[in-house]
């Protein structure tokens, strides 16, 4: 019996939770998603309403005598709404100042259902390790704003150079040669710094720290297979095969570390005048796990482009995969295990299928986001992503 996924009942939700045990905070946001699914779709928010929400949040956080000005919508990203504004206030460390900030808020349902609390904590934890915005406040249960949100510092920069070509959300990016030499090494060194960052006890309470072994990948598989079960409208035999293969071949991870989860071109800012990466963004899929995941994700063909020879794939549009991996090994002192990397390539391509064909279809079809047209457009990349997945599984066979 196929359940009515648009009106999930408590029995079905409980069965999914029991079948796919996830990290505590991930279980909370996925369960909330199902509980709210039969509710209203996304309603456009006015800047005035968001202004009131930010004021309420700041007041609740004990900020006094502040002034908010220049609210404006920001473009970019297929998953969350973003509004820039300026806050005149007494910064606890720097004193009276006007701080440019960003409100990052979920729509009614998202291309990636994730936790603002986790995102807030990981950005705070990465401060001083890699360039990130200053994370200031979080309203993870939407007590003050219409939907869960975080407020962090506005960082100057662009996600792609004016002379780069790319598709929606940074896909298919081709960088001009001068960007490869300047941004490329930073792209790898920042990733290495993320993977070398200590997981300080108590710093990330919204993350369940895995023990070495297969616990982190087992939780990740549970997380995304649960999302597929919750969201997919139309089954895909290849997705089932890939999931079965991933279950049967889970590689142990001896030293789980912080994994960005969506590390790729399009998810960092840089300044064009000095070619400097100014912020690593979009930490919503971060977890503690195997660093091979980030390597496989960044190396996806959709997130890069071909070199001038028309054959060599450049990771992120920057460098061939061999050079990318060698630079990461040199920066971390860790060796890339090619079999584990292959596993995570299969995992990443399967996961992208979950997002594009499962969640993307559902949130766009039922009008749950602030940009259904963009999400619907992204659904169209699904078959291309699955073709890559098929090639990876054929190599395995």
């Amino acid at each position: 019996m196929v359940p009515d996924k648009e009106r999930p009942d408590a029995t079905w939700t409980a069965a999914l939770r029991a079948r796919f045990p996830c990290e505590t905070e991930i279980d909370r946001v996925l369960t909330r998603k199902l509980e709210q699914r039969h509710g209203p779709g996304y309603e456009p928010q006015s800047l005035d309403a968001l202004l009131d929400g930010v004021k309420a949040l700041l007041s609740a956080e004990g900020v006094r005598n502040f002034r908010i000005e220049r609210l404006r919508w920001l473009a970019g990203g297929a998953s969350k709404l973003q509004v820039a504004f300026e806050l005149s206030w007494q910064h606890p460390e720097r004193g009276q100042e006007t701080t440019p900030l960003v409100l990052r808020m979920e729509p009614a349902a998202s291309l990636v259902e994730s936790s603002r609390l986790r995102e807030f904590q990981i950005i705070k934890a990465m401060r001083g390790i890699v360039p990130v915005p200053e994370a200031l406040w979080v309203d993870h249960e939407a007590h003050h704003l219409p939907y869960p949100a975080i407020v962090y510092g506005f960082v100057a920069g662009v996600t792609k150079p004016r002379d780069a070509r790319s598709q929606a959300s940074g896909m298919g990016t081709v960088m001009a040669p001068h960007w490869r030499n300047t941004l490329g090494p930073q792209f790898v060194s920042h990733l290495a710094a993320i993977h070398a960052a200590p997981v300080a006890p108590g710093a990330l309470p919204a993350f369940d720290l895995p023990v070495p072994g297969t616990q982190s990948i087992a939780r990740a598989l549970n997380h995304w297979e649960r999302v597929w079960e919750e969201d997919a409208d139309e089954d895909v035999p290849l997705m089932r095969l890939a999931c079965a293969w991933l279950r049967a071949h889970q590689p142990p991870c001896a030293a789980p570390c912080i994994v960005h989860g969506d590390y790729r071109v399009g998810n960092f800012l840089f300044t064009e005048d000095d070619a400097r990466i100014t912020a690593i963004l979009d930490w919503e899929m971060a977890r503690i796990g195997d660093p091979h995941f980030d390597l496989a994700w960044a190396a996806h063909p959709a997130y890069g482009g071909l070199a001038e020879d028309g054959r060599t794939h450049l990771v992120g549009g920057f460098m061939p995969e061999g050079e990318f991996l060698a630079r990461w090994e040199a920066a971390t002192g860790r060796a890339v295990d090619r079999a584990v990397l292959h596993y995570y390539k299969v995992f990443r391509s399967w996961l992208q299928g979950v997002i594009a064909l499962g969640t993307g279809w559902r949130v766009a079809r039922y009008g749950r986001t602030h940009q259904d047209a963009l999400v619907a457009w992204i659904v169209g990349i699904g078959p291309r992503l699955l073709a890559d997945l098929a090639v990876l599984l054929e190599k395995e066979a």
């Binding site: 298919g172 035999p237 291309r384």
Partner: protein, 180 residues
Amino acid sequence: MQLRTDLALHAALRSLQQVVLPAVDPENEPAQEQLQVVIGLLALLAARLPLEFTFDCDELERLACFAAELLELSPDSAAGVQMAQALAQGQRVLASARVSPADLQSEVKGLREMTGRFISEAYAAADDVRRDALSALVLAHQNEQLTRERAWLLPQGWEPEPEALPALEVLLAERKPAAD
């Protein structure tokens, strides 16, 4: 195949109504008017597209009855002979059009669900040899299907080598006859 016409139309409509329309200059009357017309046309399509096939079948059926009644008035005229041929052709087409696109999509969805469940269970229970056989079968089927879906979506521009994909018309012309 998930990016169907209904999804694209609903998403485009919401974008036009909620994002674009409020941003169009209210003083620009031609732009306001044309955008309202575009929204109206898309809304009409979104509402009626699922019924289009049934509408055409319904019309053909009633036309066939109408033509049969007309024939009784003057069956042997030159126009009557020609109409009788057209009527027979129409009735043949009608007889083969008993399944609606909605029925077809529902069956696709159902069989996808069942094959998916079968794969999950069979892989978990199989030894390595059977897993290899299962994988080969799934991959062969999926490569055929994905090639068609990618050809369908070619105008979106996701393909790195679009010229390497066969044309959708060619692929669909290869359609296998239905099994008995």
